[in-house]
Amino acid sequence: MSIAATQNRGFGATLWDYLTTVDHKKIGNMYIAAGAFFFLIGGLEALIIRIQLIKPENDFITAGLYNEMITMHGTTMIFFAATPILIGFMNAIMPLQIGARDVAFPFLNALGFWLFLFGGILLNLSWIFGGAPDAGWTSYAPLSLQSPGHGVDFYVMGLQLSGAGTLMGGINFIVTIVTMRAPGMTYMRMPLFSWTTFVTSILILFAFPALTVGLFLLMFDRMFGSAFFDVALGGNAIIWQHLFWIFGHPEVYILILPAFGIFSEIIPAFSKKRLFGYTSMVFATFLIAFLGFMVWAHHMFTVGLGPVANAIFAVATMAIAVPTGIKIFNWLATMWGGSITINSAMLWALAFIPSFTIGGMTGVMLGAASADYQYHDTYFVVAHFHYVIVGGVVFGIFAATHYWYPKLFGRILNEGMGKLAFWLFFIGFHLTFFIQHFLGLMGMPRRYWVFLEGQGLDTGNLISTLGAFLMGLGTIVVLINVIYTAVKGEKAPADPWDARTLEWSIPSPPPEYNFKKLPLVRGLDPLWIEKTEGKGKMTAAEPAVDIHMPNGSIFPFIMTIGFFIASLGFIFQVDNHLWLLAVYFGMALALGTMLARSLKDDHGHHIHKEELEREAD
């Protein structure tokens, strides 16, 4: 039970511990590790795409494989790299920031993680089961209905599994923030990262059901012969586009808002100043979320929805630039006159501001519906969304890695390697994508396997590919840094950055119960308040008490295995009805486990206060 006993254990015991854990920090770490793994796979796919495009009419890979590469690159990066890594940080950090001992539903948290992981594994299994999905990450019908083999089926089931997991995570975070804030932690005292977690979770709650429905319709059409997108029987393919983008556009805010939160933590911490315009930051976050639901059709300007619809969605799209601009100016004003420390985390934050602003500007350009007819489906769009997603989200992830690594793992990442990785990646990123704006304006369409010689596209593509390799190098340096730090890294104190929020008031890494006594929060940046008043540590809001902890459970893992088997059954029952047995077995396993879970009394356990006091020594 005590921490000393958990050290020096065999591999089997550690594995079992992670399979059954309901601790939000361990689950967060697993999210980050699994997301990083998928990030590497997605990065590899990106490099293969860029190698294919290094010269005109290249034949490095076949056209079919190229389609699979672009589909898997997009799907992996969005659903299985960026989203889970961010959810990992939310999981690990948000409860610490609001002064909670865990999330509201620890069991559901574990289930959400395993569903995501096995969704990702299922999707990637398609490589060995006769070909990956090849209809693009958007899988537009009717293309996705015509796609032969099982590729798109794996896409459907993989996303369905991981989507369910993400939805559970979202609900969990909202309940945690509503009910589990520490005494004195009012809503308007919450750190910005917790705020963006809250708003992001709301977006997840309302956006993912649309994806769920879209995937169901696609699944029924492909596997059970229904006619939603089959024009011969009266179906309508535009429904897929709407459902996908009703989900898809909020999804990009699901990615960027947590990154905004991360920068809103890092910039004040390393400027030694309170975040400028805290209230307006919160307001802008909500405004982005609200507007984010009313702009999805800007992905569909060229579909032919009519001038009225295009005009409405164009105006709404450009309106989003306003709250985003508020945020950019607030970050700049936070740094103004601050005592700025430039380290790896801060470098990523500084690089984010101009990079993301470029992406935002091209976003407004794309939002002009009439001009969009020119940009649509060219490399201009590719450049735009890589500027916002890499320049915003990936920079945010790297910044958060440097900033919170000491808190999560108890060691500080090496600064020299951190800076080297930053410069490699930063230069590589702009080399890769800046030139793509011009390639797009010159008419190079996206998703094409080859381009022709002598059309002025050769040099641009070569530069872009070289940049991609620099980004790859940067990522490798980050990996080496993580391994090096695990072996020889400097041990982290509780508060290595002299930071402002609650997570820095407890040891690194935090004990399983996080806070021995719940802290009393007296304002925004609670730790900083105590520091300026000379105390330097939080006042307890309660006497020493027994701490109630949830029990670990293997059930989430078994449930996920059940759904995983059922998904394979759904995919292959098209060929052979015997696979329906896998569907029945998998569902029985999953639902049976659910039943077992609800029949069992599980009151959790207590860590007694005597034990806590012993550990303090």
Binding site: I174, V178, I202, L205, F206, A210, N236, I238, I239, H242, I246, F293, M294, A297, V303, G304, L305, G306, A309
Partner: protein
Amino acid sequence: MNNDNMNIDKINSFQKQQNKEEMKKQIITFVLMIAFTVVAFAVVASGLEAIYAVPLILILAVVQVGFQFYYFMHMKDEGHEVPSSLIFGGIWVAVLTILTMTTIIWW
């Protein structure tokens, strides 16, 4: 075994009275809901023209669902501020979705 019957006596009689009055309101709610349903079916059975009938039955449905949420599900009670704001958020997205599917899907 739980000693239910003993516990009943121990419940504050004021509380019991309140529960009872609450239950009266619920029954009124139920009667109204059934009435709305009957009216909606009657409107359709009478063969009223679509241009009048459709808005009418839609309004009846919305009102009936309002009763369901506010009384049966207690959204009118204290402590339901956050849930109701999120339900309204969901309704907002739902309205946008349905509006889209009835207008801009390229018939």
